[in-house]
Amino acid sequence: MNSGLIDGLFVFMLAGFIGFEVIKRVSPLLHTPLMSLTNALDAIAVVGAIVLVGEHKSQLSFILGVLAVIAATSNVVGGFLITDRMLRMFKSSRPTKP
């Protein structure tokens, strides 16, 4: 129990540092897609919700789980979709039209 907690804190600290270093380098040009992408990744919370639904331990946890899976999945699908749409729009200079 306690060692799990300490492990978790280590992971949190390291991931926080990696996030800080990686995201610092993201060009301000792409800050909007950055936000929509991290949002989609954050919706990984769906795994916790899936377990609640699948285990069906109580009526309450089941219902809350179903709602949570719906909310998170909409973020996963919508988040990746709009990030890709935005990134497709970013084009470099084209030769001027004749």
């Binding site: 301000p28 919700a49 377990v51």
Partner: protein
Amino acid sequence: MNTAFAGNQTVIEILYLIASLLFILSLKWLSAPKTARHGVLAGEIGMVLAIGGTLLHHGIVDYKWIAIALVIGSGIGVPLGLVQMTAVPQRTALSHAFGAFCVTLVGTAEYYLRTPDVPRFMMSVLCMEVILASLTFTGSLMAAGKLQEVLPQRPITYKGQNFVNLSILAIAVAVAVYLVLNPGAKPLFPVMIIVPMIFGVLMIVPIGGADMPTVISLLNSYAGLSAAAMGFVLNSKLLIIAGALDGSSGFILSVIMSKAMNRSFTNVLFGAFGQVQAAAAAAKEEKTVRSATPDEAAGILGAANKVVVVPGYGMAVAQAQHKVRELYDSLTKRGVDVRFAIHPVAGRMPGHMNVLLAEADIPYDRLMEMDDINGDFPQTDVALVIGANDVTNPAARTDQSSPIYGMPILDVDKARTVMVIKRSMSPGFAGIDNPLYYMDKTLMLFGDAKSFVSGIVHQLSGNTH
């Protein structure tokens, strides 16, 4: 646990490990436009692996409802992924709300499954998760409502607002402390959800449109942190990693935005926004401005060598980005060097202007950051300001009594000629007068951004024949 289960567990953990790696790579590849789309793909693969791995979990007996929920969620997600680019800020706020909603629900379910035997540390993390997530939920809904203009965008402030807000938050924390000491106190748990929800609403009430980039970043950070807390509760390293990544991303963006607004970070952390509005000084005197017609503006722009366009939220409101692209095309065709100067807080969320201009097919290497372009204004023939105000206000550099003194601005006043497209002489969000408009080299172009730019383009293309 028999060996088959243990084997399954190892497979799940390995899939989660790969997913974590892919998530980090996803953000790494996002750093440059060239590799950014690989980043999305990496994230998608990671997500599929993680969900696939979760379905192997030995305790899962009910696959039907998982499938139904996934399908419904996707059905809601697709239209949210296809919104207009101008609606991206409110969509983002809405998705923060959804993410926080999910975390609140899972936290609640976990509490009722585990009570009353919840170790203190676990209960503290669970309380933090639920408080952060529920205030992010209502706060983000409020932000989305303001951005969609369902709610009044005007900041609503009253005396003692911060005191009221902080007291409400303190109540939530007190309830949380009681629950940590007495995890069996079931009736108190809903209080710990509802009180932060009220705080979330009140937190956004004093927020005006110009503060939105900071607020959205802050809510992004809260959403990430609540997911990381959920990772501790569920003992899931994958969730801790994803939450930490999202949390640090939101944190970095909040810092960048608050610097660009010249707000201290504590000011941002405690949500004490909207103070500038109250400080607005109005020492009005009669000053004259020079105005010009689209024809005259076209003549000056056509004769220039270097033009810098400064877009702001007004351009987004007028949906003028496609007309601006036409202007860019016709000037470029004449050999004019046209670039765009993007202030970090231009628009309603970080990077908002870049997305709108990219949507209008303006190449991203023409979009310049504030620090990269400011030195070039003295060599610029024309600075064309479209729907931006406070981010161009030279009083921020010179006038110590100005409420925005110290805020980094785009130095458009150093260009040889300044043109400002504006509906009328009404001041910006902060009610601060902009001395830029009264300078001798400034021409005010009064009118709707879209139709005015359209008029200039028309005139320019007429002259080429």
